[in-house]
Amino acid sequence: MAADVSLADAELIQRSRRDPAAFAALFDRHAPALHRYVTRRLGDSLADDVVAETFLTAFRRRARYDVSHPEARPWLYGIAANLIGRHRRKEQRFFQALARTGVDEVAESYADRVEARVSASAAQRDLAGALAVLSPEDREVLLMIAWADLSYEEVALALGIPIGTVRSRLHRARKKTRAALGGVDPSALVVDAEADHG
């Protein structure tokens, strides 16, 4: 496996078309961070399934990967975004509960059982209230940038949208998060939906 370390993701994917075993190196490279990201969004219990399905889907689609992109991270997170999206009502309920009660079921899912209950700060609760009312598209962009450390370009690639749309979605999302932290009810906030041009 050591020889694979220097290979770009695209090269591994290309190789895996002939030799499926090469795909394992892609897993080793990206699964740990992706797993943490999914855990952070949906909790511990769904993380294995979503990560496994992401890589199985990626494997099936490997013939269609555009090898002009050396880094596969956006591609993988885009696949994961679709799978996470299947649980969006659940994710929304977690944020709602966190906002209302201060108890974060997602954090509790991975916290050590003997630890005290995870209690959120007032600011986190306000923020969760905003996250709960964001549109799924806006939330996806915001969390990809904030939690997956993807750049605007990478988010655009991951979601198959123009970079201007990434900016406008992020802008819209942050209007709500800022408002919530400033004491304004984010669900009452009217945000310009026509800001899609950048």
């Binding site: 394992a24 943490r36 855990t39 494997f59 986190q124 942050r174 998060t177």
Partner: protein, 312 residues
């Protein structure tokens, strides 16, 4: 207040999975299609894989399995009777490449007794599979060619089966030395398990027995006669499968977990592939499977159908 900063702190303690969990997940992802290598040493992997494949509908009833009334039989007599019964079967016509092999199975997990019923369709030529996904949508998926896989399409199984010798001794020698089952599946990063030839012969012959749709009757009879000649092969009567049906329990290794291939006592078709723990299994200082735990695949229905989505 900086919203991005607070967001960055939210759940920032989410952990990266530990090496053990990653390893299991990696196997689940890189493993070839079907869990053929279900040997006890790999059991944890196999269990993870089975959960991974497709999760469909959870059925609520879990039955405890009393297995103690099983009665040992003379395996040579029973297997000869099986051979005589199956060799009289008419030869089935070969399915068309665009027909589908339908299978409905019940899976039981050993850790918690969770059961899952799964319906799946595999095109005869192996090019597509179909079934319901996690959301209950019916999906047909292309199967990309995978040279490292040990599993075969029904069509490829038929081709392989037709070439096998029908003399029991030659058959054993052939399957025990078949490079296909020795070298594959090719899995990165998973320790290679190489069984003893007798064990391989047993595993592969019982695997072939499951290829009912494409099984030539004469070969099936030879498989039963060959099984009778493999040292250590035993049969018990009244072995219950996970749905409560009783059958003939074929097994080779007596230790725990004991893996039974349960045969229908009338038709000698495979009803279930089932492991039962005869004692607690301890790993890393913890009991991972209690005595009496069951890991099973029970065949509820199977057959060749014209379209995916049709039950046999």
């Amino acid at each position: 207040m900086d919203d991005l900063k607070i967001l960055a702190e939210l759940r920032s303690d989410a952990p990266t999975p530990d090496a053990d969990r990653l390893r299991r997940l990696r196997r689940r992802v890189t493993r070839r299609r079907r869990g053929l290598v279900v040997v006890p040493s790999l059991l944890v992997t196999a269990v993870a894989v089975v959960v991974a494949v497709v999760v469909l509908r959870q059925s609520p009833d879990v039955r405890p399995l009393p297995f103690v009334e099983a009665i040992p039989l003379n395996s040579e007599t029973v297997l000869e009777r099986a051979a005589e019964a199956v060799e009289k079967r008419p030869v089935a016509p070969e399915p068309r490449p665009d027909q589908w092999q339908y299978t409905k199975t019940l899976n039981v997990q050993p850790a918690d007794g969770r059961t899952t019923t799964r319906e799946s369709w595999l095109r005869y030529d192996g090019k597509q599979t179909a079934g319901w996904d996690i959301d209950g949508n019916f999906r047909v998926a292309d199967v990309p060619p995978d040279p490292g896989d040990d599993d075969l399409s029904p069509q490829a199984y038929r081709k392989k089966l037709l070439k096998l010798p029908t003399d029991p001794d030659e058959l054993i020698a052939h399957v025990a030395g078949d490079r296909h089952w020795i070298d594959k599946p090719r899995e990165e990063g998973v320790p290679k398990v190489v069984e003893a030839p007798d064990q391989r012969a047993f595993r592969i012959l019982t695997l072939y027995l499951k290829q009912q749709a494409v099984m030539p009757p004469k070969l099936e009879a030879a498989i039963f006669r060959a099984l009778a000649k493999i040292p250590g092969v035993r049969i018990e009567q009244n072995v219950k499968d996970a749905t409560g049906r009783t059958g003939l329990g074929l097994f080779r290794s007596a230790e725990s977990p004991r893996r039974y291939i349960i045969l229908d006592p009338g038709t000698y078709q495979v009803m279930a592939d089932q492991m039962i723990w005869l004692q607690d299994e301890v790993r890393y200082g913890e009991v991972i499977f209690k005595k009496g735990s069951v890991f099973a695949d029970v065949w509820l229905a199977s057959g060749i159908v014209d379209r995916s989505g049709l039950a046999g």
